[in-house]
């Protein structure tokens, strides 16, 4: 068992007081521009949000073998996510305990230990200090745990998704996820063996606050406008008006799709009810992708009736599952938001492929994945780029100091529009901003609370 080390209040700044009256900054129907633009709020978020609640760190398939590692961040903290020799997944601080140097500068690899490139301190991938050059120069006992690497206090996985938090009072991960875990189950269970493997990514950098991406994650209101070029392209041939996201074009609120808020800042948009429930129902919605006609013809020849349920595995699952603050499962992607600074963010769209559980066969899995790669490249290339251009322009618009408010009140105050269900979840039509109002309540709660934070070190 590793030792806990409580995280106290940071050193006091001269003249420092509580940052803001949060109830003033985030109101029922609107949020203040400072929420997106103030570097001091961003700095507080890096502890209160990215640390104060469960944050997605990595997928287990990225470190499948003993001693595999990848480098990631929790907020701005550089981390090495490792699977140690015993198979335990740890989130080590990528920070030498001596002078603070990052130990590992590679994106991924396999190593039992990490040696600091500056003075040569050497750490096992359990985080324990293994040795230092010329130890006789130290009067202090270097076996003191304080010289072992800091680690994220709590690291837990849900079906391959690895999360971390520094908050000792946070609920166990599965309880924290609550109803959203069921939707994650459904997202996974449509794949053979209920499993997916990460296979590289479309990676975006944008000059805007990270929350603008999370505010977009469940937004059904923007699609017809922000993605107009995509919708027109997907349906550019005469007679086609139903491909891709075409169902957003006309009265999206009257359709069967909906949004649901499930607590702790998590929500999902469910477009599955719009689909025809039959094998191939998902595939029929797909717009043009490289190789689709060839593979479809080949699958029909090879698999007969079964072809269309297999082609559905290459189709983009019509659900956006958003786990606050930084994870969004959409289509077949695992999208991760990485804050860089108050006005800079990465959005990484990790692709996923299916694995062979024996039910399809190696050739079928290879071919489904070949199609699935191409369907996954479509939206990042032709859709996400335009959203991101709009995020950047929001950040620019919010530089207008005197015009203070961002509105999120679509649907608010209309009788019977937003429904609170018996399980406490909240349901609303697809273009409603209820999801945003609710995740901002969670954001405010976390910003107002002095959380019980800790890091951990090997004893």
């Amino acid at each position: 068992m590793t030792a806990l080390e409580k995280v106290g209040a940071p050193p006091t700044r001269l003249g420092g007081t509580a940052l803001y009256d949060w109830d003033c900054l985030v109101q029922e129907d609107r949020a203040h521009r400072l929420v997106y633009t103030d570097p001091a709020i961003f700095e507080a978020e890096m502890t209160q949000i990215f640390g104060g609640t469960w944050t997605y760190l990595a997928h287990e398939s990225e470190i499948p073998n003993a001693n595999d590692f990848i480098t990631r961040r929790l907020g701005l903290r550089p981390l090495i996510i490792v699977r140690d020799a015993e198979g335990k997944i740890r989130a080590l601080y990528n920070r030498c305990t001596h002078r603070g140097t990052t130990l590992c500068r590679f994106d991924k690899g396999n190593s039992k230990s990490f040696q600091c490139p500056y003075h040569g301190w050497n750490f096992l991938n359990t985080g324990r200090l293994r040795g230092v050059p010329w130890p006789e120069g130290y009067a202090a006992d270097l076996r003191d745990p304080k010289y072992n690497l800091a680690q994220v206090a709590r690291v837990e996985s849900y079906r391959g998704f690895v999360f971390g938090t520094l908050n000792l009072d946070a609920l166990p991960l599965t309880e924290h996820l609550g109803p959203i875990a069921t939707v994650i189950d459904e997202w996974l269970d449509r794949n053979p063996g209920g499993e997916v493997v990460v296979c590289e990514a479309n990676r975006f950098r944008f000059k805007a606050n990270w929350k603008l991406a999370y505010d977009n994650s469940c937004d059904g209101y923007h699609v017809a406008y922000s993605h107009r070029s995509l919708l027109e392209t997907e349906n550019r041939f005469a007679g086609e008006n139903a491909k891709g996201m075409a169902y957003y074009r006309n009265s999206p609120d009257t359709q069967a799709m909906y949004m649901r808020y499930t607590g702790h800042g998590n929500h999902y948009k469910d477009r599955r009810p719009n689909l025809e429930k039959r094998p191939g129902g998902l595939w029929a919605l797909e717009s043009a992708h490289p190789g689709m006609e060839h593979y479809e013809a080949e699958f029909i020849e090879r698999y007969g009736e079964r072809a269309f349920s297999l082609l559905d595995l290459a189709g983009s699952e019509p659900v956006n599952i958003n786990v606050f603050p930084n994870l969004s499962l959409l289509g077949n992607h695992i999208q991760v938001f990485e804050p860089v600074s108050v006005d800079e963010t990465n959005a990484v769209w990790y692709g996923t492929m299916i694995v062979d559980d024996g039910s399809i066969g190696a050739d079928g899995v290879r071919d489904i994945n070949a199609l699935r790669m191409r369907t996954q490249e479509g939206f990042p290339n032709f859709g996400e780029v335009d959203d991101i251009a709009n995020f950047e322009q929001i950040q620019r618009g919010l530089m207008a100091v005197e015009d203070e408010w961002v509105y999120m009140h679509r649907g608010l105050g209309i009788p019977d529009r937003v429904k609170t269900n018996v399980d406490g979840t909240i349901t609303a039509p697809a273009t409603d901003e209820a999801f945003m109002r609710e995740h901002f309540k969670e954001w405010k709660r976390l910003m107002q609370t002095r959380a019980n934070l800790a890091i951990r070190r090997e004893p």
Binding site: E200, E293, N369, M373, E377, N381, V385, D386
Partner: protein
């Protein structure tokens, strides 16, 4: 679905409308064709031959800088591949997301989208100046196929700033009539495995 019917021998499929040529065989051949081809013993040293391909690469850069997309597409075989891998060693695109992997139809989608006027990432549209250099030509096992390697530096002016996109490209060209057409272009961006801001031009 609304896909055109499978081709019959008398009616070859139009690759602008349907994608029958992207197959497992094509992927296999593509990967093989872009492996171990930069072999000194296969380098074409004839000055005239090299100059012909240098002009081809330069013309492609100019057409893209001038937004002459139809003329640019005409430099490609109808059944072509445009591939920007997401890893420096260009893995297997059947099991690895690419930055871009386009067939003819998707390339035309790319152009169509920009031309809608509603592609906010390209409104206003980027202006570019492309330097292409270090053009090398390599023979292949097939006499009517050459592999070209060139370096590129794209200066892109967008959103009141000029930034640079750089890397190297591999062109697979096939003899067609008395000239050459591009069968496949592999664009190896230097930072292909990192987060890049607004990558929405044609490379």
């Amino acid at each position: 679905m609304n896909a055109p019917k499978a081709p019959t021998p008398s009616q070859p499929p139009d690759p602008s409308r349907s994608s029958y040529y992207i197959s497992d065989a094509l992927y296999g051949e593509l990967i093989a064709g872009f492996t171990d081809w930069q072999d000194d013993t296969r380098a074409v040293t004839d000055v005239g031959a090299r100059d012909e391909f240098r002009r081809l690469i330069e013309r492609e850069a100019r057409l893209l800088d001038q937004f002459r997309y139809d003329d640019w597409l005409a430099m490609y075989l109808p059944e072509c591949v445009y591939w920007a891998p997401s890893t420096p060693n260009a893995g297997d695109p059947r099991r690895e997301i690419a930055v871009m992997f386009d067939d003819r139809r998707r390339l035309e989608d790319r152009i169509y989208r920009i031309n809608t006027g509603f592609a906010w990432s390209q409104a206003p549209q980027s202006r570019t100046v492309r330097l292409v250099t270090n053009v090398e030509v390599f023979a292949t096992a097939t006499s009517n196929v050459r592999m070209l390697r060139s370096n590129f530096l794209i200066s892109e002016f967008w959103d009141k700033e000029t930034r640079m996109l750089t890397g190297w490209a591999g062109h697979r060209v096939v003899r067609s009539g008395d000239g050459w057409k591009i069968a496949a272009k592999q664009i190896n961006l230097l930072e292909c495995y990192q987060a890049i801001r607004n990558l929405s031009i044609i490379l």
